[in-house]
């Protein structure tokens, strides 16, 4: 190696002289890969400002609470989906996993009279097991993620319907209702649960070995395997987390409605993928952001809320959401195009 390095390269990284040394030693705060968070953040701020001027009650506590509740389910599912997509997969079966695991919960409680905690454990275990099945099929049988999860969506949903038929389970214990409708420090429980999940996920994604390896597995699986990363374990793991979080989202949804309907939860999948992609996670793997998914979930929730507040029919929510997704993606597609050209 040469001894006579140009001095300017030697100190190139020590630019944080106003901060204590450990600050400069932190990993990049928003995550290991560069994700265009500026697009969803701008859209969110823009929409909020416009709404604040047109509808004074947009920033009322009640309305903010409604938006947060709306965003919380998508945040839970979005965190799992961000992990799966970052690892170069996709899970189309989340709606079915959500339904199947809540049907298991309801059946355990109502049909088998099992204790509440057992019902919770069975519910979460069902979600994780469904994810594990997806992961096994994708990795060991080397089938495309899209095909596998499209098929298991039908299988899981079918199983729920076979058991429950058109029946509706309702009238759950108070603790379940507290998860859906209770508040802590005036914040709805679903919001607390989903924000905790987001924070933990971000910490693992950005500051932990797991996050780095997940990005590597999605970005260049061959390189990751050569460096000794267990690619199969990470891919299966991402599906298990997704299944587990689908079950958690199922619990929250069931608790809010105080009901389980085996034929529900069909629009969640597209909204979840939309939130993840709007948040800047790259659809084909290797680049993901939990912060982006958080912003994406809120953006979609604010759009739905705005449509209702402005007095349009609820069906316009879909149109508005589609347009906002296109604008947001358009914002950062143009940005990357500029960088390349």
């Amino acid at each position: 190696m040469r001894a006579n390095n140009p001095p300017e390269t030697a100190g190139a990284v020590d630019t944080h002289r106003f901060f204590p040394a450990w600050v400069a030693d932190l990993p990049p705060l928003l995550g290991p890969t560069k994700v265009p968070l500026i697009a969803p953040a701008t859209m969110l701020v823009l929409l909020a400002v416009v709404m604040a001027f047109t509808r004074g009650d947009f920033f009322s506590t009640g309305n903010l609470r409604a938006i947060a509740l709306d965003a919380s389910i998508i945040m839970l599912l979005g965190v799992g989906m961000t992990a799966v997509i970052t690892a170069r997969g996709i899970d189309l079966s989340i709606g079915a996993i959500l339904i199947l695991s809540t049907v298991v919960f309801a059946a355990a409680l109502k049909d088998f009279g099992l204790p509440l905690w057992v019902a919770f454990v069975l519910c979460l275990a069902t979600g994780a097991a469904c994810g594990y099945v997806n992961g096994l099929l994708v990795t060991y049988l080397k089938m495309p993620d899209f095909i596998v999860t499209l098929s298991t969506e039908l299988v899981f949903r079918g199983l729920a319907l076979v058991y429950a038929g058109g029946a509706v389970f309702f009238g759950f214990p108070d603790f379940v209702k507290f998860i859906g409708r209770g508040r802590f420090l005036d914040i709805p429980m679903p919001v607390i649960i989903s924000v905790v999940v987001v924070v933990v996920a971000h910490i693992l994604f950005a500051y932990h070995r797991i996050g780095i390896r997940l990005h590597a597995v999605g970005g260049n699986p061959v390189a990751a395997a050569r460096q000794g990363v267990n690619v199969v374990r990470y891919r299966i793991g991402s599906y298990v987390i997704m299944g587990l979080l689908s079950a958690v989202a199922g619990i929250v949804l069931m608790a809010r409605l105080d009901a389980v309907v085996a034929s529900g939860a069909v629009t969640l999948l597209l909204n979840t993928i939309a939130a993840v992609i709007v948040g800047g996670t790259y659809l084909f793997g290797g680049r993901g952001s939990i912060v982006g998914t958080f912003l994406g979930a809120w953006l979609l929730a604010v759009v739905s809320n705005a449509v209702v507040l402005l007095g349009f029919e609820a069906f316009w929510q879909h149109v508005a959401a589609g347009v906002v997704i296109l604008i947001t993606i358009g914002l950062y597609s143009r940005r990357t195009a500029r960088l390349d050209g």
Partner: protein, 241 residues
Amino acid sequence: MAVELRGISKRYGQVLALENVDFTLERGEIVGLVGDNGAGKSTLMKVLSGAVRPDSGSFAVDGQPVNPGNPIGAREAGVEMLYQDLSLVDDLPTVMNVFLGRELTTRFGFLRFGEMRRHAQGIVDGFSVRGFSVTQPVGQLSGGQRQVSAIARSIGFGSRYVILDEPTSALSPNARQEVVEIISGLARSGIGVVMVSHDLATVRQICSRVAVLHLGRLAGVRAMTDTTQQELVSLIVDGHA
């Protein structure tokens, strides 16, 4: 003290990429591995690094048998590899590529990023390739900077054997000379180096031995002192001298 491959064969469908190949690398020596395109050089080196499991043959490091086809096993035995395709994750910065699979972490797996950054930057700054920050995604680096990132990963961990598959292909004459000096330095410090290269001049300049592959077979191994350019060329082209 050596890495030893015995009777290695590897088939890809119709192609017999390697046929009963023996290869030895002693510590402290630099061996050149040459051969035409498709001769099997990269495949042989991937067997050495554990990235490819051979159909048959044995693999031992310093007398200890190593489970073939296991990159972690090979790395733990002290073998480190620079892949011809560089094997980088484009979206991750150089520092995370260098440490991928062996991140410095706290007891609970949280990244000790500052330490990793300083270590990686230190290695990279040893090259005069236009200085770059190891926190930049490697996808944004120049071809030479990418190659330096990949080289940093293969020399930065005190391994005993280093495999370099075309280490200088993307480098300017200046940077190539630095890599040549690094390789010589590694050998002087007791590390065994294999260098795959199409650049016979460089091979003749720094290698003490040269092995020639021809259509998956070992066409010959020569000490650099008793072979000629002429002989090497006919081994490469015809498979015999």
